[in-house]
């Protein structure tokens, strides 16, 4: 074989492998989305129906109008959004303050704080479910979305600080010093100089927290009692509880829950990865 032919063959092999990896990753997602647009006779069949030939909005429509467990799906969407946004707002503010402290100052206890951050991320958060459940009850925040927000802030903060501190450290100190020399206060410096430069990092950590809070099943399952307080992952479990599994509705709901997250991920994909690797550990 000539070197050129071998090179071409090599390229074909690599691209084929790439396409296979792509299909392995995407097919299950595609199958979820396509099932939600298939008519029931195309869902419950032993045949392979690659795409919905009887395209229908029946399931999506049913989920959007009828909802599940006596509530509209929007109630659960709204709850999920409240918890995720609340977690992001409180968590990001706290994380930025702490990240600034560890990235910008040398102080007594700094190393111990960083090591504590590393260690608390080793604790399986699910293991804290029982004490957190009892504490939330004692605080009177049981069956209250605020309780869920508080918990999610706790679960996402160590990672948020760890990730954000590399972004703060990457902003040149000289920029802030120049602002001080120009007579700006520490607060103005922070707000006008550091904050805009750290903003991309803040977006990445925020999206991480948003997704963690959005995806949570177990804490929401345990902490919310009334169905009007359920989040999307909890509500989804209701479809399985009924007689005969309505796969069209389940896949439509899963799609509704998944697509915003995929959109977010693709938007900030590069930063997420560098942040995750630099941030080293997730809780």
């Amino acid at each position: 074989m000539t070197p050129l032919a071998r090179k071409r063959l090599n390229k074909i092999a690599l691209n084929t492998a790439g396409v296979l990896v792509f299909l392995f990753a995407v097919f299950p997602v595609y199958w979820m989305v396509s099932t939600s647009f298939k008519a029931n006779d195309q869902i419950f069949t032993t045949d392979f129906i690659p795409f919905p030939t009887h395209f229908t909005f029946e399931h999506v429509g049913k989920v959007l109008t009828d909802g599940v467990a006596g509530n509209s799906i929007w109630v659960y969407m709204r709850n999920s959004a409240i918890v995720a946004l609340g977690t992001v707002l409180i968590g990001s503010a706290f994380a930025l303050l702490a990240a600034t402290a560890v990235a910008r100052f040398r102080f007594k206890g700094r190393t111990s704080f960083l090591i504590t951050l590393l260690i608390v991320q080793m604790i399986p958060t699910e293991a804290l479910l029982i004490p957190l459940f009892l504490n939330v009850r004692r605080m009177g925040l049981y069956d209250n979305l605020l309780g869920l927000i508080v918990i999610q802030v706790g679960l996402t903060l160590p990672f948020g600080i760890w990730m954000l501190r590399t972004f703060v450290a990457a902003v040149p100190k000289s920029l802030e010093e120049a602002a001080w020399i120009d007579g700006a206060s520490r607060f103005t410096t922070f707000w006008k100089v550091l904050f805009p430069l750290v903003a991309p990092g803040l977006v990445a950590t925020s999206i991480f927290s948003f997704i963690t809070a959005w995806n949570d099943l177990i804490f929401a399952l345990v902490l919310m009692k009334d169905t009007t307080g359920y989040t999307m992952p909890v509500a989804l479990q209701f479809f399985f509880g009924q007689r005969g599994t309505d796969w069209g509705a389940i896949m439509a709901t899963s799609t509704l829950m998944t697509l915003p997250v995929i959109a977010f991920f693709l938007l900030v994909q590069r930063r997420m990865v560098s942040g995750l690797v630099a941030g080293a550990v997730k809780g």
């Binding site: 396409v19 990896v21 392995f24 990753a25 299950p28 997602v29 869902i43 069949t45 032993t46 392979f48 303050l97 402290a101 910008r104 100052f105 040398r106 102080f107 090591i115 504590t116 951050l117 590393l118 080793m122 604790i123 399986p124 293991a127 804290l128 479910l129 029982i130 004490p131 957190l132 009892l134 009850r137 706790g154 903060l157 450290a169 990457a170 040149p172 100190k173 010093e177 206060s185 520490r186 103005t188 959005w214 995806n215 099943l217 177990i218 345990v222 479990q237 399985f240 899963s254 829950m257 998944t258 997250v261 995929i262 994909q269 590069r270 560098s274 995750l276 690797v277 550990v281 997730k282």
Partner: protein
């Protein structure tokens, strides 16, 4: 490249030399009435309160609760918990479900971590050799798998492995009967109920979790590979090194920190997988298929609630995780410029 630029400064990235800042801290900062020495502590207050109150204190509570019996009256707040010493733990040792959960947890994590890392590294190396357009295409595809919420992951794979209308049984039926019999000892897969039996549930769970987590490994490895200077490979090629030797002598040593992080992350994630298993099993039903997380959850929250036992299981899980990850944590503390 954004990926590599933040990877690079790990450790050496903190350029703020302590000596240089000293002279600015003589004067009081304008606009804030705080002495400069107090500023970092003030900034840390909210974070420390959250970590103490929501992570460390509950951690201690969990250990204490594992020595207690917690009745419904305690949960309602009208009675005090009762001390039972080591009873929760000794009962666990006698419980078959505990041992099967422990085995499920460890075997699942070992297999899944290994498969995720191998597949992820292979795909990362593949991405590095693809053209820019092709690699972007594949990255977008694998990122969408990674982004799927765990609950939806469980749902999707439960549907793919559905006994009646699942695509997996359909695909297995496509195999020539002879081959299928040779490989699996059976030719007909119609109605195969994958999610009834603990063993096959774990086959599905492993697939689910590997599918959702290899993309992160692949993209991280790719970021690492792109950070390795091309000259090193040039030199190796001039010296006539084999690809395997090049990998062992150049790629692996330089990517070691990345692999360390990826391994520890995978261990942490895979030891406590809960949502996906919860969905595949349709709640805490099939006790033979429990892992420690789900067992702890079921003990604590299924009637009658046994929170003390649940806490004891959580303690066991935490100890295993801390032991497994202690070595890597030490490595990481050394690598990161913490001091």
């Amino acid at each position: 490249m954004a990926n590599t630029s933040t990877l690079a400064p790990r450790g050496g990235g903190n350029t703020s030399a302590p000596g240089r800042r000293r002279h600015t801290s003589h004067k009081r900062a304008r606009g804030s009435g705080l002495p400069p020495r107090a500023i970092p502590y003030v900034l840390l207050i909210p974070g420390i309160l959250v970590i103490l109150g929501l992570l460390l204190y509950p951690m201690i509570q969990m250990v204490i609760m594992s020595f207690q019996s917690i009745s419904l009256r305690v949960i309602r707040g009208v009675a005090e918990p009762e001390w039972v010493g080591l009873e929760n733990y000794t009962k666990l040792l006698d419980n078959d479900i505990f041992w099967s959960s422990l085995r499920n947890t460890i075997v699942f994590a070992a297999v899944t971590v290994a498969l995720t890392l191998i597949l992820g590294t292979a795909v990362g190396a593949l991405l590095n050799r693809l053209s820019k357009r092709m690699s972007t295409f594949v990255i977008i595809g694998i990122m969408s798998a990674w982004a799927v919420p765990p609950v939806a992951q469980g749902t999707i794979w439960r549907w793919l492995f559905d006994a009646e209308a699942g695509i997996i049984n359909w695909a297995l039926n496509l195999l020539p009967d002879g081959l299928s019999t040779l490989l699996f000892g059976r030719a007909d897969w119609t109605g195969q109920p994958w999610l009834n039996d603990a063993w096959s549930v774990y086959v599905v769970l492993i697939l689910t979790v590997v599918w959702a987590s290899f993309p992160f490994v692949a993209v991280s490895v790719l970021a690492g590979l792109r950070g390795i200077p091309a000259e090193l490979y040039e030199a190796a090629r001039v010296d006539g090194a084999t690809p395997w030797r090049t990998f062992r002598k150049i790629t692996f040593p330089l990517l070691k920190p990345v692999f360390a992080v990826l391994t520890i992350l995978s261990i942490i994630w895979d030891f406590k997988v809960l949502s996906q298993l919860y969905v595949l099993l349709n709640g805490p039903t099939n006790r033979e298929a429990f892992n420690l997380s789900l067992f702890s959850f079921a003990e604590a929250f299924k009637a009658p609630p046994k929170m003390g036992t649940g806490a004891a299981i959580a303690v066991v899980l935490t100890i295993i995780l801390l032991i497994v990850t202690a070595f890597y944590t030490r490595q990481m503390v050394k690598q990161e410029d913490l001091t």
